[in-house]
Amino acid sequence: MELHNHGQSAVAEAHTHDHHHDEHEHHEDGFIRKYIFSEDHKTIAKQFLILGLMWAFMGGAMSVIFRLQLGFPDFNLEWLRPILGTWINETGKLEQEKYLALVTMHGTIMVFFVLTAGLSGTFSNFLIPLQVGARDMASGFMNMLSFWFFFLASVVMFTSLFLETGPASGGWVIYPPLSALPEAVPGSGAGMTYWLISMALFIVSSLLGGINYITTVINMRTKGLSFARLPLTIWAFFLTAIIGLLSFPVLFAAALLLIFDRSMGTSFFLSDIYIGGKALHHQGGSAILFQHLFWFLGHPEVYIVLLPALGITSEIIATNARKPIFGYRAMVGSMIGIGVLSFIVWAHHMFVTGMNPFLGTIFMLLTLIIAVPSAVKAFNYITTLWKGNIIFTPAMLFSIGLVSLFISGGVTGIVLGNNALDIQLHDTYFVVAHFHLVMGSASFFGMMAGVYHWFPKMFGRMMDDKLGYVHFWLTFIGVYLVFFPMHYIGIAGFPRRYYSFSTFDFGKSYADLNMFISAAAIITFSAQALFAFNFVYSIFRGRLAPLNPWDSNTLEWTTPRVPGHGNWPGAIPTVHRWPYDYSKPDADKDGFTDFIPQHIPFSQTPNSNFEHENDLIAKQEGKKNSGDNEHKHH
């Protein structure tokens, strides 16, 4: 009995300490409680998704502007003045400082707001309770707070765009001294302060979210859902949340020290600095120390961004290849491996900071080891697809696209991971190409795949397939056209974060390629309008979704078309098998087609059961007689 009360009070107590065991009445949710300050995980997920997508379009638009500058340096941008105002100077060119501001904002927005909050926030929130068979998150209140902290972070970051001195401009990695000295560049002043406030709020948001995700996965799984039967999506969200819990506090510590340096005159990251010929009082600090702290978060962060996308992909590929995922255990193992390794490779971002070459070699070895679990995952996706009965839904295409991007971007990671090679390649467009393929595009594809796949469950309607196909092909070809040529530009030595190359002789050599990239970027970005239209239109006018549109096995498809508060109107289904019983031999003899959902007991499928599954029934029968312990771990 104890058990039952816990969940209830977890939700109820969160509101007030005085009503410990009161029922949680939610009869007449007003508009505000239902759509704005909602504690329902599905609503919160949609809030994360919509805010995340809005940021994605903002971040994308920024990249178009700076690509215009890079590809067409002589182009007159006067027509952008209505939007950009004084960011366009008298000669109709983008202000140089504002170029840096745009790059910085683009990176921050994409990495944190779109691919962390928009991706984890959306799908962890939406899928964890639905796929583990819980009525909501462990604490709906904390979950709601998590979104509103993200919202506040968004407001602060957005406001910083309108500051007279512009937003932060020192790159998304905010290295000191640019970030530590308010007088360094215009964006180092108020813009940087806003950035730090915004990110502090953001860290609080992701910690609140992450604590909830972990608690829910561990404590609230339905009967029969052992860890060995968890869908890979949940494994991915779970591990992502753990990585976030361990790494975001470190960023917080770094930000704290930076704030002290900025506004209280400490010297943690500063030493021997002259501004305008005048020496500053700061002595004894070290900018490299900041890099260590930053990348201790920064590298895990790239996996925080990628793992959920990989989890989503596993689910979608197995479902649409109509095959069990190949190497379930290897998939889980490699995610754990990646998670652990991600904490001990951070210095590969710092090979050229003058670190001891011996230390660099150690980090090189550790870095290259990550290629092993990564390759395991790539091979498993391919083997799952191999000879599958593939159904090319838009979600499936985006998932396969992710696998492709993950491989082509991962390969260059191995190049960069060699400290000797990195001396040449560091801070060039080669790095930009690497991480835009492996992290940016791959995770974005995972997000798109997730939206196309779970849209029916989110909004009860289907998105349009044809538009989805066009969207996929334009985006897929587009990102390759944008990022592939950047490798050559990088190898040729073009540094990243340069406003213009036209003043250097060597820069002229690739002017045409830069133009090409910019054109491709504009087309790719424009193609996203198809998605925006499809998304908004389908919410209101899409075809009504069937209950299980993709013939999928996981629990969310046992809910009503639009699940209400509490997800299942009746009892929560019990789980009896893993989620990947696709195309099981002899399933037809049991009356199933090519999939057997997780809530179907083995006793209903005597013909298709494998031997060990029959043993399981026998064991359960035995246990039933000796008490109701049957649902203990096996």
Partner: protein
């Protein structure tokens, strides 16, 4: 027999029927532990940053304020009284719950005041937080004790909430979860401080 058949939920109750393989821990207690993990990571980052600073270049050599010894004793004692309050709760001894909770809270405040005097001692000794006469290693002491102090304030808030429940007689052997969480958090803050203190003793 089957749990899920007993209590078919309606659309508006969130209950936890049908749990099989779950941990036996209360989700909120579990969440508290996760919160503790994240605080630990933050201090791990700060102290390793200190080590990096300390081992490179010429670190500022300084004396540990005498006051830190005193506050350390105070916080250890407060942990003991916290534990006594918790055992009193388990034994349903309301009088002792109130008494020991009050003592713990008072000791918590004394600890904070002590930390403030320790800072004064540091300033006297010429170890500054900021400004041209400061050095990173010295500033770190302020950061350690300051950030820890902020957490102590949050712990005090938690203590006061629990204290209020105690005076409303809402804590007894049936309802120990709040005081148990409060104790967990307070002991953690105690251990965290002792860690920081020993860390400073070893590296100054």
């Amino acid at each position: 027999m089957k749990v899920n058949k007993l209590n078919p939920p309606t659309n508006n109750t969130i209950s936890q029927e049908n749990k099989g393989v779950a941990l036996s821990m209360h989700p909120r207690k579990f969440a508290l532990w996760l919160f503790i993990v994240s605080i630990t990571m933050m201090f791990a980052a700060l102290t390793s940053a200190y080590i990096v600073k300390f081992t490179e270049g010429q670190p500022l050599v300084f004396d540990i304020p005498i006051m830190f010894w005193i506050t350390s004793v105070v916080i250890i004692v407060s942990s003991l009284t916290m534990h006594l309050a918790y055992t009193a709760a388990k034994k349903n001894n309301t009088k002792n719950i109130k008494m020991f909770m009050t003592i713990t809270s008072v000791l918590g405040v004394i600890f904070l005041v002590g930390q403030w005097y320790a800072w004064a001692e540091l300033v006297q000794a010429g170890v500054f937080f900021a400004g041209s006469k400061s050095a990173p290693t010295g500033s770190f002491i302020y950061v350690f004790s300051g950030v820890h102090g902020i957490h102590i304030i949050s712990g005090l808030v938690f203590l006061l909430i629990t204290l209020r429940l105690a005076f409303q007689n809402k804590i007894n052997s049936e309802k120990t979860s709040v005081i148990e969480m409060c104790a967990t958090y307070w002991h953690f803050l105690d251990i965290l401080w002792i860690y920081l203190f020993v860390f400073l003793l070893l590296n100054h």
